[in-house]
């Protein structure tokens, strides 16, 4: 089909060129933003905000315990639970990939239950249900041990899925290449598949660290002393004592100081992996 449209039908110039149109649209958006800022600026009760969210006197009281006790304990809870979750998660993941059906079944139930329940419910059952039923039950390192196991149980379910996904993310061709060189299954897993899977799981495992860090805010239901308190309870109690949210804001800032950079690292790693593929 020869194109019979007359050449003369020139391309119309836009009444407003895209460049101009964009400039106008952007102007409107800035205006909306400025209006919103102004509304907040005049509407908000700045005096109240400063008094209740940034009260220096109250803030002073929070230190140094906010760091030396609360943040320290939060980090201890998180890391110890991470270790428990990592080891248990690896075991569950291997069970999940086992050739023995009952292991797969047990692992599946474990994962489904612990991913499906709120951490709070796990803590309540674990922290009070079990000890009431079995009065002798004790964990090493007292509070720290109890928290590590309770939080670790929840983390293990997520980590098990991460490990499994990591192993399955290694292209099948890798295993086939290894087997076609005469490597037995176990050797191929150890030398070829697992080293590659570990790289894949670093970002989700770091993400799990962030989630655990936040979940550690729930250990208060297990009961804590002034020495084993963590960030959210410390901030919450001090806030209640003074009827002033400044300590909570400080505790929140302490969380962000850890979670935001870690989140950034996770996204960098993920982007790098996407590019490498």
């Amino acid at each position: 089909m020869a194109d019979t449209t007359p050449r003369a039908e020139a391309v119309p110039r836009a009444r407003l060129s895209p460049r101009k149109r964009q400039r106008i649209s952007r102007g409107i958006q800035y205006a909306v933003f400025a209006a919103a800022v102004a509304a907040v600026g005049f509407g908000a009760d700045w005096a109240s905000l400063a008094e209740y969210f940034a009260d220096l006197d109250v803030a002073k009281e929070a230190f140094p315990e906010l760091i030396t006790v609360a943040l320290k304990n939060t980090v201890i809870y998180t890391l110890s639970a991470y270790v428990v979750g990592f080891v248990l998660g690896l075991v569950v993941a291997l069970m999940r990939l086992s050739s023995v059906a009952v292991y797969r079944g047990v692992a599946l139930v474990y994962i489904e239950v612990f991913r499906g329940l709120p951490a709070l419910v796990v803590f309540l059952i674990f922290g009070f249900g079990l000890p009431v039923a079995f009065p002798g039950l004790e964990f090493p390192f007292e509070q720290y041990g109890t928290v590590a196991v309770a939080l670790g149980l929840v983390a293990a379910a997520y980590m098990a899925e991460t490990f499994r996904a990591g192993i399955q993310a290694v292209p099948n061709g890798q295993l086939e290449a290894a087997r076609s060189l005469g490597m037995p299954q176990t050797r191929a897993m150890v030398s070829i598949i697992i080293p590659q899977a570990l790289r894949v799981v670093i970002p989700p495992l770091t993400n799990e660290l962030i989630l655990l860090f936040k979940d550690s805010s729930l250990v208060f239901v297990l009961g804590v002393t002034s020495l084993t308190t963590e960030l959210s309870k410390f901030g919450g109690d001090l806030a209640a004592e003074h009827a002033d949210s400044t300590p909570l804001v400080l505790a929140g800032a302490a969380y962000l100081v850890i979670t935001v950079p870690l989140g950034y690292v996770v996204r960098r790693l993920e982007a790098k992996q996407r590019k490498a593929r």
Partner: protein, 257 residues
């Protein structure tokens, strides 16, 4: 086949330059496609062929130089770029059919939303073009149900449905199984015979030799050699062109580098 007219060129590219970050990809390209002419662009991977094509319908913004299509300078910042693009059809290596729309809707959505054609007219144009590429029976199915060759023919029909004055093809058969390449090249040959103006990036030397009026050989962001198809492919002047063609045309007679 070649119907060179005394009118202005269909596509005129003048001093086109484009870089991505520090990488200068097009180092001043000049080229012309006359109305009704078929121009093939060949060259090694990374030489800038796709970038050149994408600059012609401004999918990439050139850093410098002019692109003039049927007398309208697309690189003029005040031109209505959406209106201008409608005159230029583009076919991609990866087909890029809209997977959430049926074949028919793939062909009519832009007609209706952009050209504001009514449903009856849009459908008629769509079926006419689906007939032309030989997949009219697939109008009601989704792209995922089609073979690669069928998908690419639908993509050609979709571009044709906007009544473009020029068609750009970027390696239209590279993603296809060898057995399916022929169908698509057949459609392109038919289009050329009907007088469509075409600018084609391809590795199919046989197609270039038989169908193209002119061949450009690009390497390292410049046009190294340019001329009638028979001459450039069968009797290249430049050493780099010779090496490239020897590798592509006769892959088995060669030692590892």
């Amino acid at each position: 086949m070649s119907t060179v007219s005394p009118a202005a060129p269909a596509v005129e590219i003048v001093g086109l330059r484009k870089s991505f970050g520090d990488l200068l990809v097009l180092k001043g390209i000049d080229a012309t496609v006359e109305p009704g002419e078929v121009v093939c662009v060949i060259g090694p991977s990374g030489s800038g062929k796709s970038t050149l094509l994408r600059c012609v319908n401004l999918l990439e913004q050139p850093d410098d130089g002019k692109v003039i299509v049927n007398g309208v300078e697309l690189t003029d910042p005040d031109v209505d770029i959406d209106a201008a693009r409608r005159r230029v059809g583009m076919v991609f290596q990866q087909f890029n059919l809209f997977p959430h729309l049926t074949v028919l809707d793939n062909l009519t959505i832009a007609q209706r939303k952009v050209l504001r054609r009514g449903k009856a007219e849009a459908d008629a144009v769509a079926f006419e073009n689906l007939e032309k590429v030989g997949v009219a029976d697939k109008a009601r199915v989704f792209p995922a149900k089609l073979s690669g060759g069928q998908q690419q023919r639908v993509a050609i029909a979709r571009a044709l449905s906007m009544n473009p004055q020029v068609m750009l093809f970027d390696e239209p058969t590279s993603a296809l199984d060898p057995e399916l390449v022929g169908d698509v090249l057949g459609v392109m040959r038919k289009l050329a015979d009907e007088g469509m103006t075409m600018l084609v990036v391809t590795h199919e030397m046989q197609f270039a030799r038989e169908v193209a009026d002119k061949v450009l050989f690009m390497d390292g962001g410049v046009v190294v050699e340019e001329g009638p198809a028979a001459q450039v492919i069968s009797d290249p002047r430049h050493e780099r062109t010779k090496t490239f063609l020897r590798r592509v045309l006769d892959p088995t007679h060669q030692d590892p580098t």
